[in-house]
Subunit: 274 residues, 2 copies
């Protein structure tokens, strides 16, 4: 198993929510003669993965602590259900802290110390102080930001570091321009907030424009409410709804350096699915 | 321009809906000493690209015919608005044929013959006979088919040639299993028909399962209505909503040969965006 091979050269930790996953990792660790760090994944409200109760988290922690080849490192949470402006996250993050605190108390009552308590998410990053116990956070989107983080009140366009450069390839249909960027360049993620109104990204410099439909190679922009529309052949810039899967579609990007020079970078981890 | 370079070694045709695009191609063709074939893109109801009236199509055709470096080859249409079961497409395809016929008549009245009349689309492919004048069709999805072509009554699961192989990595949240395939493996395209009910793909062999939410690396499946649910660690197979952007996310695929042997194929054109 690849994880065990990696554990030979670096410290690696895996979040698990089942004894089966822990046992599979332990078997691979045993074959490779390594130790794999384990974080117990606890569901704090997103309801995607994670054990459900303090009792279950304690049982899994004890199982990991008692299994050769594994090292019980702590707890992992992902509060993906907490969106919206930071100043409105207080009540939901209080709940997250409660659920986490119950698990930590259960562990400590049996002498288990979660040395690492890993939190998450770009939306909650600035309010991480509201969740007691955290020792690390894992925001990702914030490196670039995107239309979703603008829409949810976490940043402004000035904080968005990435753009998709597009060209207007058609203006034949009244009220519309068409870009040479579709779902294969932008991704099809809908806007996290009010998707019908917000479309598939923010066209920079054209207030009122809405990216209303994506085909694979076409992005259709409703410009009927724009004071001025981009011209046929014009180069325009788009901030995608969700920068993470967007970046994953591209083999290369251009990094604009502080002096204005452009440097091509390869997106090495793109598509590393298997 | 890359098109002009390609025209040195192969016959290449470009669909255009503006004199500007035609002139840019002509300039590149002139510099490269080649001729580029042109199809005039006519909007037959999808309202994405394409000139709007027979008069506009004639004007653009005459412009192309009069421009050095270009060769007027014919007409391109894309009836992307015609979905649903083939047997119900008659009235809409009749409209498509009407719009196309008016353009052809306008061209012929001025002595211009559209030698190629290129139609389109997987949904309309079996009913192409209902559109007079077509000399070629361009179905794409039909090579594999997908959940969208099942949902719209164009095929059954038995006609779907591609699967995404996934593993159940979590069953900790009641009523749900989580796959190791999210938006970076499947694409985020919603179902073309009744997207809220149909989710993000069809989980093969588990009637009643619904892929209700994708994160980048997770696919959450509601199994609360399944008689039996896939087990933790089980390998399962998913037919994505839209196979075209899905394939575009993968560097490699496995081709299952008639004798059952598997052969790895590289997806060479994936991500050829620039």
């Amino acid at each position: 198993m690849r994880v065990a091979e990696l554990a030979k050269v670096i410290t690696i930790r895996v979040a698990v929510d089942s004894a089966l996953a822990a046992d599979m990792l332990a078997a691979a660790a045993g074959r490779a003669g390594v130790t794999v760090g384990i974080l117990v994944d606890i569901d704090v409200g997103f309801h995607r993965t994670g054990v459900q109760t303090p009792k279950e988290s304690l049982e899994l922690a004890r199982h990991v602590a008692d299994t050769r080849g594994l090292r019980l490192d702590g707890i992992m949470i992902y509060p993906g259900h907490v969106l919206g402006p930071p100043q409105r996250q207080g009540p939901m993050l209080w709940e997250v802290g409660q659920r986490l605190g119950e698990a930590v108390a259960a562990w400590r009552s049996r002498g288990l110390e979660p040395r690492i308590i890993s939190g998450g998410s770009t939306p909650t990053a600035p309010m991480s102080n509201l969740v007691p116990h955290l020792t690390e956070i894992r925001p990702g989107t914030y490196i670039f930001n995107d239309y979703n983080t603008i829409l949810s009140g976490q940043c402004t366009l000035a904080n968005c570091a990435a753009r998709v450069a597009c060209t207007v390839i058609s203006s034949a249909v009244p009220g519309k321009v068409v870009l040479d960027a579709g779902s294969k360049a932008l991704g099809s993620d809908r806007a996290a907030i009010d998707p019908d109104a917000n479309g598939y990204g923010l066209l920079v410099d054209y207030p009122g424009a809405r990216v209303v439909r994506l085909s694979e190679e076409h992005g259709e922009v409703d410009v009927s409410r724009c004071e001025r529309a981009p011209a046929l052949g014009e180069r325009v810039y788009l901030v995608p709804n969700h920068i993470c899967p967007c970046i994953n579609l591209h083999d290369r990007a251009w990094l604009i350096l502080p002096d204005g020079a452009a440097s091509r970078v390869n997106i090495d981890a793109r598509g590393c699915l298997s």
